[in-house]
């Protein structure tokens, strides 16, 4: 472990280690992620794996260092200049922090791109006892290694069907190359031609399509035949589930879909789930409804949003009340129809 002088340096060292072919990560909270955004962008551009864990606090700015919020989703998804795709994951339990970070490294290395892994104060300051299902394997690698054929005319950023280029690491024999945060051609040399930019941007985004084959199936809870569906992310998953149970005790059924993957997402599961609901509720711990905004644009749904900014936390009771309220609306609609 290296204690860096600041978050820019920490993310820089992760980028450097990634360039040298080692799995590396750093962690931060809130404002630190803002400082890392230029380096994350460089990781996207120069196709270097990085894992950045952000244990969310309340914001903006220095914000509420000792309080919880889920308000860094937007910066995780969109922070940084340019058309800059990145993997965003969010753990909903401590177990998922442990297993999910392994998946984060696998994806980052295989697809040569940064992963932002969101946790929050609730998860970060909680102690739980779990059995370990999969030990961390320090020699694990998901790198796409160049074949002898690839090395005959090696292009570090060779455009392939999946967008993933075979990756030779400094210190290995066979080829030499430079990488840059400037736009570049397949060789890695700077190139600002319009067609090169189009092609390479497309390559960087195409990796995210290919990645969908490696994503875990989302988890679905509750009554399959319910009309009311919920989706949420991160630490409130437990509280929301509890709210569903309370509503169920009063005879109101509901179901929930959640995934550790925020971007990319196994979309067909979400789409099918939403198609099977008459009403969708999205509770989350921020003022804007950042996750709801993503869901609305991605699946063209019109959910009922519940925003719990800052200190307020998602309360199971309020979730239950909302489920019951929506149930009454649906019943009234059905009666008047």
């Amino acid at each position: 472990m290296l204690q860096a002088e600041d978050e820019i340096a920490a993310s820089g060292a992760v980028l450097g280690a990634g360039f040298a072919g080692k799995r590396a990560m750093t962690s931060t909270s809130g404002p630190g992620l803002s400082l890392m955004s230029e380096m994350i962008n460089m990781g996207v551009m120069s196709e270097i794996p990085m894992v950045i864990a952000n244990v969310q606090r309340g914001g903006p700015s220095t914000g509420l260092p000792t309080k919880v919020e889920q308000s860094d989703l937007n910066i995780a998804l969109y922070g940084g200049a340019g058309d800059s795709p990145r993997i965003v994951m969010a753990a909903s339990s401590n177990r998922e922090c442990y297993t999910g970070i392994q998946l984060a490294f696998d994806l980052a290395e295989k697809y040569q791109t940064p992963v932002i892994f969101l946790s929050d104060l609730f998860l970060g300051q909680r102690t739980v006892i779990n059995t370990i299902e999969r030990k961390i394997d320090r020699n694990r690698s998901t790198r796409v290694v160049p074949t002898n054929g690839d090395l005959r005319v090696y292009n570090r950023f060779q455009d392939t069907e999946t967008g993933v280029s075979p990756w030779l690491i400094p210190g290995e024999e066979g080829a030499l190359y430079s990488v840059t945060g400037l736009e570049h051609s397949e060789t890695g040399n700077p190139n600002f031609a319009a067609d090169v930019h189009l092609k390479m941007t497309d390559k960087r985004f195409r990796k995210f399509e290919a990645m969908k084959a490696d994503l875990p199936t989302p988890r679905v809870f509750g009554d399959e035949d319910a009309d009311i569906g919920l989706t949420c992310w991160g630490s409130p998953v437990g509280a929301v589930f509890e709210g569903m149970e309370i509503a169920r005790e009063t005879g109101v059924k509901s179901k929930m879909i959640t995934s550790i993957m925020i971007n990319p997402q196994p979309e067909e599961f979400f789409q099918a789930f939403f198609d099977s609901c008459r009403k969708i509720i999205i509770p989350e711990m921020n003022h804007q409804g950042q996750y709801a905004a993503l869901m609305k644009s991605r699946y063209l749904i019109r959910p009922v949003e519940m925003h719990f900014p800052g200190v307020k936390q998602v309360s199971p009771r309020q979730v239950a009340d909302k489920i019951i309220e929506v149930h009454h609306e649906l019943t009234a609609e059905a009666a008047s129809a």
């Binding site: 450097g16 360039f19 990488v179 840059t180």
Partner: protein, 280 residues
């Protein structure tokens, strides 16, 4: 580019070709003819040859600027990083694989301006990397703004009435931060530059080379002629083993000394890590 300029570029390349080091050249430098950065590039080629560094183990990390273009001109692995952030990126490379020979190159804006906060930490940790700071006292790439090493009074787009902030002295900073190898050279002195780059890379620990490297395109006052007037070799009997004395000499403005200010033996970061890990 005029014909004359083109001829000068070609001539400078003929010179480069003629040396034993030509196999270390990658694509043609894009610098202006006469740019101070050519000499350290040539010096690096020669140092790589002298030190027999296998290209597959050579990583050049740079910042952004004219100086930052180095990796594209050298055969080896290159990481053209972000403006001001070459040092932390290089420490990551070195941590990940200590067998790699890591050299960092950056300009004065890059290294003591935007990235000035990283130098102290790489130096005090004694990472076994070499840092070439190409100081032209101006932002070259962005066409001539005042930099943190620009002299007072310098007129530029960002200081139209003359620079009113005192310049930083990069050699003094490196000494104060605890770098274990600190030297200053002048770009016009090819042999001196090559010799010091070779020594700096051979040094175990953080080596800092301050290259006075004029920008012929934009600098009106810091020129080959002006620097030549100011510089003077360190006294022949100077020993380069006393940091306090080195600081005094590095700070001197009349004359501006060139040569090796300090060379100190001290375990590198990686050796210290190895010492800890050997206990487990």
């Amino acid at each position: 580019m005029s014909l004359l300029q083109k001829r000068r570029v070609l001539e400078s390349f003929e010179r480069a070709r003629a040396t034993k080091a030509r196999k270390h050249r990658d694509s043609l430098p894009t610098w202006c003819p006469g740019c101070g950065h050519f000499t350290p590039l040539q010096g690096l080629y020669e140092a790589m040859e002298t030190l027999k560094i296998p290209v597959k183990d050579f990583v050049l990390v740079s910042g952004i600027g004219c100086s930052g273009r180095f990796p594209f001109f050298v055969r080896g692995f290159g990481l053209h990083a972000l403006h001001g952030r070459a040092i932390p990126v290089a420490t990551g490379v070195k941590l990940a694989n200590p067998d790699l020979q890591v050299v960092v190159v950056g300009g004065d804006g890059d290294g003591v301006g935007i990235g000035g906060g990283h130098l102290p930490h790489a130096a005090r940790s004694n990472f076994d990397i070499t840092y070439l700071l190409l100081d032209n006292a101006i932002y070259g790439l962005t066409k001539g703004q005042t930099s943190p090493t620009s002299p007072m009074g310098m007129v530029s787009g960002t200081s139209p009435y003359g620079n009113i902030s005192k310049p930083l002295n990069a050699s003094t900073l490196a000494l104060a931060y605890g770098a274990t190898f600190v030297a200053r050279v002048f770009s016009q002195e090819r042999d001196q530059v090559t010799e010091m780059i070779t020594k700096a890379i051979a040094h175990k620990g953080f080596s800092f080379l301050h290259v006075l490297s004029p920008c012929v395109e934009f600098h009106k006052t810091v020129t080959y002629e002006s620097v030549k007037e100011e510089v003077c070799l360190l006294p022949a009997d100077y020993n380069a083993n006393d940091r306090a004395e080195a600081l005094v000499l590095a700070e001197s403005a009349e004359p501006v000394y060139t040569g090796l200010f300090l060379e100190e033996k001290s375990p590198s970061y990686h050796e210290r890590v190895a010492e800890i890990t050997s206990k487990f």
